[in-house]
């Protein structure tokens, strides 16, 4: 039973000339409303190998070069065309929002390296604590944990220099020295050199940062489960 392998979601039908898929299959589109999925017909999922990973990335790059807004799809996404259409219809609002964010933009990946994660002194609102019941205090503490997992306080000294070029940020904390966090920055296409310049001149004390990119905006897909 033939299914479709999805490479990316786009805001427009790509022009011809973007080449073939990772199995040399022709690329075509599945459209649901404003959303366009770039797909290839396949019966079996590709094995994971350096060759297939790089080939998939190459397809995404060619598509990214041909359109303004692209949401890369995770490797290995093989499903029936009808399931794809259902998913796109159900998730249209958040996918459209994500496409609007990445339009005309690309991703820089920043690895934050050091021997110990920055400890952020969270100002404790003791006055507030006393008036809250145990349930509210629990939820407040949980919220603080959620936030901490998505923050990179190590970059604080760099914020002023980054602000002009960074349009959005996603953080994955590792807290596994020397790898403290991975920070993904969305920049306008063409700003990569300016971004590298900021990072090269960064002085973050005991913390080091290493930037790679630009990449298609893989890290700016909406979160899988909300």
């Amino acid at each position: 039973m033939s299914e479709v392998y999805v490479y990316a979601l786009l805001g427009q039908v790509p022009p011809p000339g973007t080449g073939a898929g990772l199995c040399e299959e022709p690329l075509r589109v599945v459209r649901v409303g404003e959303l366009v999925a770039a797909v290839g017909d396949m019966t079996d999922p590709p094995a994971v190998s350096e060759a297939t990973l790089r080939a998939h990335d190459a397809v995404v790059r060619r598509l990214a070069d041909a359109v303004d807004a692209i949401l890369p799809v995770r490797f290995g996404s093989l499903l029936s065309e009808s399931s794809l259409a259902d998913l796109l219809a159900a998730r249209a609002p958040e996918l459209s929002e994500a496409l609007a964010l990445v339009a005309g933009r690309e991703q820089m990946t920043l690895r934050v390296l050091g021997d110990a994660p920055a400890t952020v002194e969270t100002p404790r609102d003791h006055a507030g604590d006393e008036t809250l019941g145990p349930g509210a205090r629990y939820l407040t503490a949980r919220r603080a944990e959620w936030r901490r997992a998505r923050e990179a306080p190590e970059l604080t000294p760099l914020r002023p220099a980054l602000a002009p070029v960074v349009r959005a940020e996603r953080v994955t904390r590792h807290d596994a020295p020397p790898l403290l966090a991975s920070v993904y920055h969305l920049i306008d296409r063409g700003d990569a050199a300016a971004y590298h310049a900021v990072v090269e001149h960064a002085d973050l004390g005991t913390v080091r940062v290493v930037a790679t990119g630009p990449w298609p905006p893989y890290a700016f897909a909406p979160e899988a489960l909300g």
Partner: protein, 120 residues
């Protein structure tokens, strides 16, 4: 416009850092084949408990995430915040207690769903 990855700049990963990144990615990506839940015939009860508690913990986290969202959007009253907070707190304790009875630590309540990532 060609967009190739920028050539290596003065700063690139040291060997130790590369090792760290590799280990982290290996941990996150997990097995490439579809994950399996296969009830251990020697201890079916524990396997069932693990699956059930994993799913309940997943739902608890989903609800917690939504509760935090609504707390931030200020669409929860003070009373609702307190009630939801207490309920989630008790649910977390319950999951932990039942898990303990089957010899399951919080880290055991995780089902790797491949592309979905670890369920929790």
């Amino acid at each position: 416009m060609t967009r190739e990855p920028a050539k290596s700049r003065p700063a690139s990963l040291h060997v130790r850092e590369l090792e760290s990144l590799r280990a982290e990615l290996e941990r996150r990506v997990g097995e490439f084949s579809p994950p399996r839940w296969n009830a251990d015939p020697e201890d079916v009860q524990r396997s069932v408990a693990r699956l059930v508690l994993t799913l309940v913990e997943f739902l608890r986290q989903l609800m917690e995430r939504q509760a935090i969202r609504r707390m931030e959007a200020r669409t929860l009253t003070a009373e609702e915040t307190e009630d939801v907070g207490q309920a989630l707190m008790r649910l977390e304790e319950t999951i932990r207690d039942i898990g303990r009875r089957f010899g399951l630590a919080p880290e055991d309540l995780n089902l790797d769903l491949g592309p979905l990532g670890r369920l929790i």
